[in-house]
Amino acid sequence: MAVGWLWGGWGDCGDLHAPARAAVSLAPMTLAARDILELREAFPALARRRNGKPPIYLNNTCMTLRPRVVIDALRRYYEEFPTCGGGRSEGAQKLDNWFQDELRVYEVAAREAAGRLIGASSADEVVWTRNSSEALNIVAHGLRLEPGDEILGSEREHNSNLVPWLEAERRLRERSGDPELVVRRFFELDADGDFDLERALAAITPNTRVLALGHASNLDGTVIPAAAIRALADRVHAVGGVLVLDAAQSVPHRRVDVEELGVDFLAYSLHKMCGPSGMGVLWGRYALLEQLDPFIVGGDTIADTWQDRVDYKRPPGRFEAGLQDYAGMVGAAAAIDYITETVGYDTIRAQELALNTHLTERLAPLQCDHFWLLGPEDPARRGGVLTMSSPSGALINAIERIGDEEANVMVRRGMFCVNAYLHRRFDRLGSSKNNLRASVYFYNTLEECDVFADIVERVVKSPLDHFDDE
């Protein structure tokens, strides 16, 4: 099996004269500083200070910061029409009362915005969820799979796009009475972790009923090209399967169009794109949503009930059990508008590329036997993500600790919910758990990247000097 570390030769840590592979070519210029400053002023969290220093937030792959316009939208719900919504997709134009009528305007607009963002043909194809994980669980529980069906994914699926399918496998094993039944299979990625279309296509069999893929990796930022997803969708459709796309790490950073991609289900999260925490979306082709069994049921999912039976609503209502996060919907609409209209995907892409190129140029030359970067060499293939790895957890911890204590740097350490991939590739080398990820978004600056890079450089050049006070 190929080993997925990065490129180039390496020397001993602390050897400043060790030959380092030439840094990648210069990136496009970052946005004008004044433009970034203007954007940053919209984020109250960036105005905070600890020990006289601002936050340096480089954990955007997990969750982004929120601009004032989204916070105001959340407050608007609670201050102006804090009531229960509902009546979704039931054709009701007039609800019960003043507040509900006002809320409904925002509810409808939010669902339309969430669908329009990804090219959905109808707002009724949009199901509100708490996050991408819940969205993927709805699909994994709702599809009517049979023993003999196969579920396919890559070797590097996020736990949110792995565990629901492992549970589906477990259920099918129980139904079949065969404890050895293999339902989920996976295909390998390239040695550097990049996607390989030929391997993926070759893994699809006549039994493939589900191809569940992460669009962009939260580990190293690599993205499956649109043409590749289209080709996979065509192939899986030809054998009677569906393509489920975990777009949690792509929709916040690039334009995604479900029709262009040809996918059948798609999940994304608003809290990764300046939206409210705990708001996500499941999109599905309407005919498929209608075939999907509801997962969490109860109030608001039903058309009617009797003592011995239930009639469910049509989608999306049948998937939205109980009272919903109406403030989150209002905030979601504000976030989508902010990302697409105020900031723009072109700005996001340009800034991420500039920042990640700069970070890569700073950190790639530091690679040595105790420190390296994961993923492809070219930062243009890694979005806004740069992940470091080491056999020494103490080294990784020292970077994180010093960054937090000295400069308010916020990054993420660990296995980033891709445990299965890291175990498979790196357990035998003893380094699967020692990773540190810096992930940028459009509001980050070159100066912030330099502060972080300075700390990494200091620790990597003399790692044994930084292990105190753990």
């Binding site: 056999p391 911890n397 350490r413």
Partner: protein
């Protein structure tokens, strides 16, 4: 607190120097076969995801091998785990379970392996956690219930080898 000199030396020479892209100290590599027992302790940074996992290969008479798996953050935990699994390898389950992790005197073999002259307290605390981890892995192998890890005293600058302590 500062990492003690014996821990720092052991970590630098016996562990860090042996780590690389293609290798790690043998105690930190997984088995090629399923373990017969495993257990975890939260000792290195006090909870959260800082969990050290111990796996064992053996039977009712002898522990053939013991390994460590963790994103270890603390040099003292690396050191203590390395020393404790070296000690446990080849011993019987009865012998391993007989050691009381709360009795510092019984930790003497571990301190001796670290540095006969100075018995630093940062190593003491991690020895205790590592011992509980290995013992629970043995209990798991034996089909016995694991015991919850005691709350060991926070490390100080104390030297347990100093008779005037």
């Amino acid at each position: 607190m500062a990492v003690s000199n014996p821990v720092r030396r052991y970590y630098a020479e016996e562990i860090f120097a042996r780590m690389g892209r293609e290798t790690a100290p043998a105690n930190f590599l997984p088995f090629d076969e399923p373990p017969t027992g495993k257990a975890a302790v939260e000792g290195c940074l006090g909870g959260g995801k800082n969990i050290t996992e111990f796996t064992v290969l053996g039977d009712a008479t002898v522990l053939r091998d013991v390994r460590i798996s963790c994103g270890l953050c603390n040099p003292a935990m690396y050191v203590a785990a390395d020393i404790v699994v070296d000690w446990a390898r080849g011993r019987s389950p009865v012998e391993i379970l007989a050691v009381d992790p709360l009795d510092v005197a019984q930790l003497a073999p571990f301190f001796q392996a670290l540095d006969p002259r100075v018995w630093p307290d940062d190593a003491r605390e991690k020895f205790q956690y590592a011992l509980v981890g290995v013992q629970n892995a043995v209990r798991d192998q034996q089909g016995e219930p694991m015991i919850p890890s005691p709350e060991f005293d926070e490390p100080t600058a104390k030297d347990w080898a100093d008779p005037d302590r």
